[in-house]
């Protein structure tokens, strides 16, 4: 990684660490969902509980990536510091890398309470290597959603980013089978589900944590989503000229 990307990561992490409330808030929501929905309904079935732990871990990570990042980017764009940064000799790559790495810290942090609840209060079982592989998938699988978050953040004002990211977030989570297992979803959702980016990540997570066989269609569409989101985010960064009034 270039030293410039490292400088951006360091700068964003410093800002994040000095206002730590965002980290804590992001970590609580998925853990609460875990206690409210998984523990009473799927807590006794080891396989279902393990899959749900993986899903909710990703649910939290995705919220930080899609909603959190898009709002942060849109808000930062409204500050006069943002146009100054664009005059510095750097393209989108260094800044995006910094954003993604700094957000991954939030991602991993938000996964910890879910794992703790899963391990202590359900029959979810996973070995240390499975857990590590799961975290690896989590980290990699969050990247396309961060790229989508960047895209929204560069296209909309802060208030718009809140609305657009939330409108995308819940359908993507439900269609991808994060909140309810895909097997019990209605037929039409089962048809659409493999084409959402969420399903691809979920398939990978279930595969490494609960030994299921991943659906190839979902994996291919995840790869396509990632490439498209990266291209679109780069385009949105370049066309951005800061906040505009007419």
């Amino acid at each position: 990684m270039s030293s410039l990307a490292l400088a951006h990561t360091r700068y964003l992490l410093l800002e994040q660490v000095r206002v730590p409330i965002g980290l804590i808030a992001g970590a609580l929501f998925p853990a609460i969902s875990m206690v409210a929905f998984v523990v009473p309904f799927a807590g006794q079935d080891p396989r279902a509980a393990t899959m749900a732990t993986g899903s909710l871990m990703f649910f939290g990570a995705m919220s930080g990536a899609l909603i959190g990042l898009s709002i942060t980017v849109a808000q930062d764009r409204e500050q006069p510091w943002s146009p100054y940064l664009r005059t510095l000799p750097a393209g989108p790559a260094a800044h995006f890398t910094g954003r993604i790495l700094a957000t991954l810290v939030t991602t991993v942090t938000s996964a910890v309470p879910v794992l703790v609840v899963g391990a202590l209060f359900t029959e979810a079982t996973f070995t240390a290597p499975q857990l590590l592989a799961g975290l690896g998938v989590l980290v990699a699988g969050t990247v396309p959603f961060m790229l989508l978050g960047l895209l929204i953040g560069y296209l909309t004002a802060a208030k718009g980013a809140i609305a657009v990211s939330q409108i995308l977030f819940f359908p993507l989570a439900i269609l991808g089978g994060l909140l309810l297992p895909p097997a019990i979803l209605p037929d039409f959702i089962q048809v659409v589900s493999p084409f959402t980016p969420t399903r691809g990540v979920a398939e990978l997570l279930w595969a490494v944590m609960a030994q299921t066989t991943p659906d190839p269609v979902a994996l291919v569409s995840l790869a396509v989503w990632t490439v498209l989101a990266a291209l679109a985010a780069g385009w949105a960064y370049r066309r951005d000229e800061g906040r505009r009034f007419s």
């Binding site: 510091w81 100054y84 005059t87």
Partner: protein, 293 residues
């Protein structure tokens, strides 16, 4: 002379607003150019185009012979951020290091902070700095990458006299070492102290591009204001406006104007003569209204 930055027939619109109107301007290596004009004249838009922040609606903008949108070209420039936007939670040294990381050639942090009188503040968070200290940090950041060309947009606004003179010394020494500067300011005094060439822009166009002396003569005008009915034709009037029954005339020769006014026998009251501010002078120069009221 090598041209470092060039705008050729540049037009920039924001919706219905025309910020730059087919403006052309070359900035040569080693020049210290003052850019003057009233608010909304297009100064900031021009700097934003040179810094790669915005694209022209039509026309071309070049930086070191390339496009300002190319990050490689921007390695040679320095820009001041607005001091109100500096990230508050970061420490002074962290911001300097972050900005420096973008450049191949870097000014040493210690030396840079010392040059702008910030050496004691390296460990302070920006949120704890005074307005003047933030302003100096913002200007220092323009020099972090050992630029060949710096854009200083109102560099001393909000500074006290001592800090302003210290900053002028810093800009002068950068220029004496071969650096090129494009400076905007509301203060004629500042432009006089620093610049050799002055470019006056108004309504998005270059109104004057000359030496400091020539432009100073151009703006050496006075405002004569009085309450009167219809005025006769008066000599040397560059512009006039009438607000709430009070007429204001902008003239190069207030003495002759008053003599002529008295001679004409027109009744008037409440005569005032005062120097114009730069902004008023430019507004008068750009006003298309006739001298008759």
């Amino acid at each position: 002379m090598t041209v470092l930055a060039r705008a050729h027939e540049v037009t920039r619109r924001y919706g219905q607003v025309l910020a730059l109107d087919r403006l052309s301007l070359d900035i040569g290596a080693g020049e210290l150019v003052g850019l003057l004009g009233p608010n909304g004249a297009g100064k900031s838009t021009l700097i934003n185009l040179f810094a790669g922040l915005r694209r022209p609606t039509s026309g071309t903008v070049e930086l070191f012979g390339g496009s300002p949108l190319d990050p490689v070209m921007r390695r040679g420039i320095g820009v001041t951020p607005q001091e109100t936007g500096l990230p508050e939670s970061l420490r002074v040294k962290e911001i300097v290091d972050f900005v420096s990381a973008h450049f191949r050639e870097r000014a040493g942090r210690k030396e840079l902070l010392a040059r702008f009188g910030l050496d004691d503040l390296a460990g302070r968070q920006v949120g704890g700095l005074s307005g003047g200290q933030r302003r100096r940090l913002a200007v220092a950041l323009a020099f972090a990458g050992r630029p060949r060309l710096v854009f200083l947009d109102e560099p001393t606004t909000g500074l006290d006299v001592e800090a302003r003179h210290a900053l002028w010394d810093g800009i002068r020494s950068f220029h004496e070492d071969g650096g090129t500067v494009l400076l905007t300011s509301h203060y004629l005094e500042e432009i006089e102290a620093l610049a050799q060439r002055v470019v006056v822009i108004g309504s998005g166009r270059v109104l004057a591009d000359d030496t400091v002396r020539a432009v100073r003569d151009l703006v050496g005008v006075r405002r004569v204001s009085l309450v009167a009915g219809d005025l006769p034709e008066l000599p040397g009037v560059l512009g006039s406006e009438r607000v709430d029954g009070r007429t204001t005339l902008v003239t190069t020769d207030p003495d002759r104007l008053v003599v002529e006014l008295v001679r004409s026998g027109t009744p008037f009251s409440g005569l005032e003569i005062r120097p114009t501010t730069l902004e008023e002078a430019f507004l008068a120069l750009t006003t298309k209204e006739s001298a008759h009221v």
